[in-house]
């Protein structure tokens, strides 16, 4: 039994780390640009499929390194050409725009790579269990968790220790003042969007190794990411990380005990948080 619970918790942490990776990117974009990026799941799928297509040439590690960067590049372009045009207008328009993009992304990935699921090869030695008693703990899972931890750590360093991060955080609080102080807000929002999409692309490559490739791969991850943001508190990256891991573990445990409630448990947690602390666990009061 304890083995089963341990399995559920480890599974939950891994899925939760995916949610968190996606949610942090969404949250970055949402707090600086007031845009809910519905196309985030689409970008995730693009990252995953790009990695799949380049693996024969550059190998698994090359794909892991290059695909998220290419996805981020696509993100920079989409922001520059389309999304930046609706800044400052009713948030309704940015929602509809990214909504439409989500439709297009899904359909185009299906058109290029097919509607059937594709297998994604992870190096064999990574797939073997680390020990016999902990059979579910494959090297790939440990590696994934470690990599996500490193990336999130690097992001926190970027946000707190570099000039770019400082400006992004300042812009979240008061974009106008940041603009008056001489920061090019257009570039700032563009880079911020790129960072968010990089995280989505990386989540895509990692998820492909774990869940396999499907055009709708982003769909199953985007709703829990919203919940992670709501539970953690919009504007707080630590909160979002915490929210992601929490709902991951909660739904992992629910899978063991009440399988049919594995999704419902996340929404119940969200409802409780909204009732007790509408701004989220680590969110600031009065921002929304």
């Amino acid at each position: 039994m304890s083995q089963l619970i341990l399995l559920a918790v480890v599974n939950g942490l891994i899925v939760g780390a995916f949610y968190a990776l996606m949610a942090i990117g969404l949250s970055l974009i949402m707090s600086l640009s007031d845009v809910i990026n519905f196309a985030h799941g689409g970008f995730l799928a693009v990252g995953a499929y790009l990695a799949y297509s380049m693996t024969p040439y550059v190998g698994f590690w090359g794909g892991l390194l290059i695909a998220p960067v290419l996805t981020a590049g696509l993100g920079l372009l989409v922001e520059k050409v389309l999304i930046s045009r609706v800044y400052g207008r009713d948030p309704l328009y940015s929602l509809l725009l990214t909504f439409g993009l989500a439709f297009i992304f899904e359909d185009v990935t299906r058109y290029i790579w097919g509607a059937q699921g594709l297998p994604y090869q992870v190096p064999g030695w990574l797939m073997s269990p680390l020990s016999l008693s902990l059979f579910f703990l494959t090297g790939y899972r440990v590696f994934m968790m470690a990599l996500i931890m490193v990336v999130v750590g690097a992001l926190f360093w970027l946000m707190t220790r570099t000039r770019l991060g400082l400006r992004i955080r300042a812009g979240t609080l008061d974009l106008e003042t940041v603009s008056i102080l001489g920061v090019n807000v257009r570039v700032l929002r563009n880079l911020n969007f790129g960072i968010g999409i990089y995280l989505a692309g990386l989540a895509g490559v990692l998820a492909a190794g774990q869940l396999g490739l499907q055009p709708t791969i982003g769909d199953s991850l985007i709703m829990p990411s919203f919940i992670a943001i709501i539970i953690g508190g919009l504007g707080s990256l630590t909160g979002t990380l915490l929210g992601g891991l929490m709902i991951g573990v909660a739904s992992g445990l629910a899978t063991v005990f009440v399988p049919s409630a594995s999704e419902a448990v996340m929404y119940v947690m969200m409802a409780v948080v909204l009732l007790v602390r509408p701004q989220g666990l680590l969110g600031e009061e009065g921002r929304f």
Partner: protein, 317 residues
Amino acid sequence: MENFDIRKQGPNLIVWALLLTLPLWINYVSYTQLGTQIVAMALGAMALNFLLGYTGVLSFGHAAYFGLGAYGAGMTIRYLMPSTGAGIIVGTLAGMLAAMLIGPLIVRLRGVYFAMVTIAFGQVFYFIAFRWNGVTGGDDGLTNWKRMPIDLGFTTLHIESQATTFYYFVLAVFAISVGIMAFLLRSPFGRTLIAIRENERRTRFLGINVNRHIWISWVISCTFMALAGSLNALLNNFVDPRAFFWRQSGVFVIMCVMGGMRSFWGPLVGAAIFIWLQDELSSMTANWQSFVGLVFVVVVLFFPRGVLGILRRKATE
């Protein structure tokens, strides 16, 4: 009729004339069932616009109430009693009840945050319909039920076999609902909602309980959305979990924007264009979803006021 102003009443007359004569001309461009679908979906879009366009609250989770109406109607007819009227009533009440319960959790939130929370709550119902296989049919949808003839005492409406009769039945429900919404918008309550849209803080300073008004507007909007859902389910004699999916919510929002959110009939125009376009595209190409996405992008970038918004602007120039 003392203040009958043809300029003001003109649009209303055109809309009703077109809707009442629809079965006569629809076969030249399409088929009656599509007309019925347009009227049912237009009711949903107009219900959403009550909140979106007239109260200024950004809901992206209305598919939940659309789906509740649909499943409410279908499950009532299948499990409880084979009556179309009972199905519609139960479906509508189910949507209303859910909206009343969820309302207090969300009325304090605003803007994109409101949108995100409504969309997340909407997904709860999607998963319930998806997981609760034995009752809802799961992913395959709820089947083995169909709309029943309606016995009015002096005559029986054969809505199950006559497409035109069903069209007029849906149109009658649409007319009553739209009439109620128009009446509410013209009342002091409706004017208060518009005041909230225009300047929430000022309205609050006038001593108006803004959150309660938003809650009531939310419940009204979701109730009519559920009614639209039950009509649409009756049209198809079928409902599946996709009725609840967040993409369906987005489709209603784009209908409102495409037709013109600030016009009463805007969502009807938007629904007509969107459904007709989707019907044509899906018969022409397998990649219709890309084109639907493209419609979203083009509307947002180039026609943010919608068809009626543009027409109205031309008229005032």
